[in-house]
Amino acid sequence: MRVFVPRDAAARSLGADDVAAAVAAEAARRGLDLTLVRNGSRGMVWLEPLLEVETPAGRMAFGPMTAAEVPALFDADSGAHPKALGLTEALPWMARQTRLTFARVGVTDPLSLDDYRAHGGLAGLARAREIGPEAVVAEVSVSGLRGRGGAGFPTGIKWQTVAAAAGERKYIVCNADEGDSGTFADRMLMEGDPFCLIEGMAIAGLAVGAGKGFVYIRSEYPDAIAVMQAAVQIAREDGLLGPAFDIEIRVGAGAYVCGEETSLLNSLEGKRGVVRAKPPLPALEGFMGRPTVVNNVISLATVPVILAKGAGFYRDFGLGRSRGTIPLQIAGNVRFGGLFEAAFGLTLAEIVDDIAGGTATGRPVKAVQVGGPLGAYFPRALFDTPFGYEDYAAKDGLIGHAGIVVFDDTADMLRQARFAMEFCAIESCGKCTPCRIGAVRGVETIDRIARGDAAAIPLLTDLCATMKAGSLCALGGFTPYPVMSALTHFPDDFAPLKEAAA
């Protein structure tokens, strides 16, 4: 008998370790021969800790579980357990998804290479070795895969540039500095299917001729760091990693801006995480000045399925120039929050009202911030926007890393705009003036508006235009998105003197 209790950080933050300990204790008490697997999360965070029991009919889900409810699982009719949910795969949240990148997350034992192989793992790498570097780059290009970190740059073109660059030493750098609030796909993937990322990086190394890879993981993710370190060790012992291509895990140090690729490279080199001017592109002069692929976790972890099933299979999902699937991360004030992988094209209304089930508080949705702290706040009037890179850009927004943070009607959008500027001021690397000074002035200007100074509103608009056009990277350049969207779509919150007594 196999029982699954996630080791995912979200599940653990909700008591999964206690549940796992209770399972082990109860099995021992009853003298049961039971295998406890600490899997990744299925992504239904509102049901965590989600325990699963393997049966001949499939895996049965129970959640959200507490340790006290564990003993009843072992009684004759576990189907009558108060937390019984039925077959995991049949739950609507699961059944509606197209899980390509996340196919194994929550299903397998994250640190079992045998499990990984048994569920289709390493098929992509095997095909990559068969077809050779040029064909691999072509396959990734044809798949239409674009950078899932947020910038949306075509992955195939980036790989082509590095492959064609001169140089004996090249690098694959995985950007796992997932700092955007509302995002946790990288974390879930690393904790739930680390070999998938390792395989993707190995394929990238083969494609561009790189012998060394780094995974730069933010320090706020201790679980992901531990799982990736263990997985790399297992992969070395297996020979999957070795002299031809090896991976080193590096840990960030709490700087949001290091999610920007050039800042990340400086950090990796042991320097302050300041942004570099481009050109030169990291593809030509990246880590230690050598040709470097810098890709997000999800981009790299999607490569194995593209290689295994073919570029055409992947490209057939999606809309417009947004091909394939996107792991939506539904967060904030929602009834049903978690990770939902689907083809591009769902509208925000479908995501927020239907999949997320509205707010956790039961109050009306006021605003949805898409794409992290640098993403725009969307009002209900824009809920018909389909999820795609160009579609969001057309509405003065961005999909970023596909984090979706829902706010109910108690949110004060002036306060949210102020926070965006405050965050930018705290996290600015300090290299360029529009970001370093602009963010501080932005906080001051919004405080003036809050005090009733309507003359400060055009000043804020002007400041945002300067930051957007003049900043060196997306931190200063995109902070205007949350600020201006809040101002544009929720003008009442910026009205001079919100007097209660008027």
């Binding site: 320097k271 302050r272 230690m288 702290p373």
Partner: protein, 157 residues
């Protein structure tokens, strides 16, 4: 108890040797030093500069750039509260106000008895089960006012 200069030199020397083959070793070295001492002792900076062939100013620049690296030892417990948007949407600001009021410190402050250091964190990746916190490395999701009070009781000693 303070750590003597000789102890620092010995331990930092070991850490530097551990990373002798790494490319761009300064961050891993600093993480290990902080793990060993709870902060980055000022006496370590010249050693790092010497070993890595960079100036002391550069080492100081790196230490001071990153939020994680502390120049002073923290309290006996470290409570990190998420301040980012997803947690805000679930009431993180009110929890933060409550924590600051009860502890009598602002962000980055340590209580007078040295028991608790309060730090902001911008996202722990627990955005679908916020508000989120981290207490001495342990993650806590769906924090509410009673839960916060219990956490604060737990770290009071």
């Amino acid at each position: 108890m303070t750590t003597g200069r000789a102890d620092i030199a010995a331990r930092v020397g070991e850490i530097l040797r551990d990373h002798a083959d790494a490319e761009g070793p300064l961050l891993p070295v600093l993480h290990d030093i902080q793990a060993a001492f709870g902060h980055i002792p000022p006496d370590a900076l010249p050693m790092l500069a010497e070993a890595l062939n960079i100036s002391r100013a550069e080492v100081h620049g790196v230490v001071s750039f990153y939020h994680d690296f502390r120049e002073h030892p923290p309290g006996r417990h470290v409570l990190k509260l998420c301040r980012a948007e997803a947690c805000q949407a679930m009431g993180a600001d009110a929890l933060a106000d409550r924590a600051r009021a009860r502890l009598g410190v602002d962000w980055h402050g340590t209580t007078g008895d040295g028991a608790v250091t309060l730090e902001p964190v911008f996202c722990l990746g627990l955005c679908a089960c916020g508000p989120a916190a981290m207490v001495d490395g342990r993650l806590v999701g769906r924090l509410d006012a009673p839960g916060l009070e219990a956490l604060l009781d737990g770290v009071a000693a």
